[in-house]
Amino acid sequence: MQEAPMSFKARAERALADPTLKLAIDRTTGTAERKRAVAMTQFPQFEAARECGKRIKDHVIAHLDHYLLEFERNAIASGAKVHWARTAEEASQIVVSLCRQAGAKRVTRVKSMLGEEIGLPHALDEAGIERVETDLAEHIVQLGGDRPSHIVWPSMHRTREQVSEMFKRSHRAPHREETIEAMVDSARRELRDKFLSADVAISGANFLVADTGATCTVTNEGNAELTTTPPRVHIVTAGIEKLVPTTAHAFAMLRLLVRSATGADVTQYTTFHCGPKQPGDRDGPEEFHIVLVDNGRTRMLREGLKEMLRCIRCGACMNHCVVFRQLGGHVYGGTYPGPMGAVLTPVFDGLKSSRDLPHACTLNGKCQEVCPVDIPLPTLLRGWRDRSWREGLEPASMRVGMGLFTFVASRPRLYRLATAVAIRVMRLFSRGGTVRGMPGLGAWTAHREFPAPAERSFMAMYKDLEKGQ
């Protein structure tokens, strides 16, 4: 499903015409929304926790240089090797060359959005290294040969029926019973020996703890620890905005992250990784590498997107987005879908190719309402619209139309006249209280009726009334 050449609108229309996709989206996001709502009723401290989380992130971003250096110092002291990558390409090249140095034939991967962002799956495949995705959803994505469509549930676009078919086609000992339990078991059997035979493990990080140099991952399946423990080398890739001052700060963020993502209080597994295997340890990697990735983050800092660096990748914004819930994630065309993706994709891919994303939004504000760190997503999206307008990326018809409208609307008498004419024209096309077949209204009337206007405008009638008084 390589869809780059298609326009956003074409991708959207294709998604809208796919009832199976809609069913899949509704099942997952519906469940997520319900579970989060329940979690919120059980956590009346959410607002206070959210304010605290927001301030922690803002504090870290405000002193990011300090925290990067503190983290680096402590990570090195723990025996980790720290690498820095300016761009996506640089980051995936570092990982690939570490794999090559390790003589890796097979690598196991833990789901990481940053890994997707830097194109790591592709880079590993190009390098001829066998890549085993161990997160169940990423395993499904890998089998399906497509891309993640959600940051928490990457295979959200697949129904259980589709997953069942894929597993039957490719698993060595597939499920016999058509239940989700049996399918999960099938994946468990399939991946078991791969965990233990990999040469390198690659994971991401939910938090980087500055005062210990530890990286923290939160997962539910247990695949992360099964992935990162047996191989000789473990590589963590993480964005530079993932820092928190201390473990206690990580916990404050954790309470927000998990409830917002899945509605659970905590994930089943919260694991801190601090350096390689220590003397006496029963297991663990000999080498532990951390790749700190910029890839546009410092640009965001400078270009008015600082608040977006608070994002902890919970996915609540997309689960509650009316547009995402119609389209799913692939239509967005980038690593991150939904409202947060509509803010981030223009950073990574440029506004020119992604200008539809910040526009295909009703600015209804629900995403900010559910965001656990109160990111003003509508404001940031509007910021991209401003920029798109300034850079001349908006269609000429729009620019001319808006200019004309403003010209008229800033001259009240001309505006009254224009209103009267518009009403007259609309009424010419009106039958039974509805405007039909009027040129220029097609985008509306293709899908719904356009209510006919009253005979005269409010201002005209009001003027007459006042005269009569």
Partner: protein
């Protein structure tokens, strides 16, 4: 210029006040965490052990738990656990002194956990009442894989190691060299990756059984400070 310098320079260009005194930053960071009670959920009971048990056995965590008087009862608990599930008396035993010292006669035991291990018996360092979590540190007595490979995970927990909140764990370990791995384990492995429905036993254990021992012996003391 190295990537490191480029990034650090770019960060500083984007900051309003770069180069703040580290001590001031630390104070500011600490101040963010004042009044923790206002932003944490309340515990399910005043007693930490009861609160922990209520949480760990709640539908959200969905583990099972039982209490015993002394650690010596653990083998019997495991025997009953296996019998009731018609499983053979073969256990992978975490190589922790407190477990190895118990009488496991009648069991076939080993300390290397196999890929398809049915049951492993381990011991947690701490538990968190807030979340119903168990805390493990990797070390000579704690292979991390033992927590993840088996289908059934039976974990011994000393009642006096139950902490109230996650931050209390951070406080309890402050200033110590962190282990390679800290596992905070809350219930059995689960996935919601297929249509959002929860299925247990994704890759890690499908069943988690916590055995809380009330007794506080010299042996336990040794384990805590290990």
């Amino acid at each position: 210029m190295t990537a490191r310098d480029t990034i650090l320079n770019a960060v500083r260009l984007g900051l309003t006040t770069p180069g703040v005194d580290p001590a001031a930053i630390r104070r500011e960071a600490a101040a963010l965490l004042v009044d923790p009670a206002a932003r944490r959920p309340s515990l399910l009971s005043d007693s930490l052990v009861d609160a922990f048990i209520a949480r760990v056995t709640s539908p959200k965590v969905a583990a099972t738990a039982e209490r015993i008087g002394t650690a010596t009862e653990l083998p019997d608990v495991v025997r009953r656990y296996l019998e009731s599930r018609q499983l053979p008396a073969v256990v992978a035993l975490q190589p922790a002194a407190i477990l190895q010292s118990l009488d496991w006669s009648g069991f076939e035991k080993h300390d290397r956990v196999a890929a398809d291990e049915t049951i492993a018996v381990g011991v947690a360092r701490w538990a968190i009442a807030e979340t119903g979590s168990l805390v493990f540190h990797s070390d000579a007595e704690t292979p991390i894989l033992a927590n993840f490979l088996p289908l059934h995970h039976v974990v011994l927990l000393r009642a006096n190691t139950v902490l109230a909140y996650l931050e209390d764990y951070a406080a309890a370990t402050a200033g110590q060299r962190p282990p390679r791995n800290v596992n905070i384990i809350t219930g059995a492995s689960g996935t919601t990756d297929i249509e959002g429905s929860l299925v247990l036993g994704a890759h890690g254990p499908r069943y988690l059984h916590v055995v809380i021992v009330d007794e506080h012996s010299a042996l336990d003391e040794a384990q805590i400070t290990a």
